[in-house]
Amino acid sequence: MNSSDLQLILRSLPFLLKGLRVTLILTFLAGTAGILSGVVLSLTRLSRLRPLAWLAFAYVSLFRSIPLLLVLFWIYLLVPMLTNYTMGAFESALIGLTLFEAAYYSEIIRAGIQAVPVGQTEAALATGMTRMQAMRFVVLPQAVRKMAPVLLSQSILLFMDTSVVFVLGIRDFMGVANIIAARDARVTPMYLLVAAVYFVVSLAGSQIVRSAQGRLSPSISRV
């Protein structure tokens, strides 16, 4: 990298930061919506109603076997067709990412719930709680501690996954970098910068997960 590369980066900084903001917003929204849908999916999957449980299983298996890009294309194509509502690329990406990540989140949540000993549920039921209450007050609080670090790791993967939404024309961090790289014909500094930023953010994220794991694990042993 020489000084003109540095100048290019400095000159494009506001535009790049705007892109990074879109990436972070997308990660946050899709992460939140994905975890919520994941909770619903995992509870459905563990439900005693066989057909419902099977449907949730089919959903998770399907979404885990197809590429994210294909999901994004599906949503971009289908939603306007079904609703007659022309949706922006950002909304399509948000829905696609949510549907996709929900499958992964739900597996993590299911594992967390199943890691809580059955005796806990039985004891809760014996005190007269309904199944719903046992889940809400006894099982989930314990499960959340077990799965929080894994959910965070999955959210870092989600952050990296958002880097493909530029194919829908979204100006996220990667999309903005592509535009600058093409406009100024300065590909090398741009993509090195993009790689460095993704690397630093994800590495910092996984360090946070590691320290959270340390802080959460003593309470698991106490439970």
């Binding site: 399907l62 076997s65 890009l69 079904l82 990296m160 996954d161 493909v164 990667m174 790289a181 590495l203």
Partner: protein
Amino acid sequence: MGYEFNWSVLRHQPYLHWLLSGAVITLVLTACIWVLGFLAGSVVGVAATSRRGAIRQAARVYVEVLRNIPPVVQLFLWYFVIPELLPAPWQHYVIHDMPHPEFITCVVALGLFLSARIAEHVRAGIEAVPRRTVEAAFATGLTPFQVYRFVRLPIAYRMLIPTLGSEMMIGLKVTALGLTIGVMEMTARAHQIESFTGRGIEAFTAATIFYAVSALVLVAVVTATEHWFRIPR
């Protein structure tokens, strides 16, 4: 909704040919990525258990760098940036003479991405081999290389079959990124049919079924392999 299905479009040329060639490219790409990922991942995974601190550190850095950069960014680095940084004769070869540049770039970029993930599993697998087993192997007079070759790796790989199977699945899915640099794999072909004919639902359904069936076959093969190589008790 007033959409009328027209599945016959998938039977007509050139669309049928596009789908089939997309399927073949996806499968070949997956196989290449997986072979490279497995070989490089095994080397790095073994290096990560080395007794020399410097080698362990190098393996650690390799894994952290390749795991924390999104695969599509790595693909762009290999496609746009790395040729620029090569010495002149190599650069000339890569840019002008290399056959199928997009495909080969894809194999290298995505294969190495996968190798970092596989390396982590291989390292964990080797470390999970009980200490006593390793000590017993040394006590029989095996050299360190022989201990890896005949004791640690065979036990580790057997334990890792299901994990390596899900990495293969990731390899299958990640091939779709090839479309960003112009590899005409399955997702790219489905998208192309959609733009040419407006028959997006039909084309994407075909692609979805293709990926789902490939995944099912993969799971079946992995389960059978696991069963086949199980250590008898």
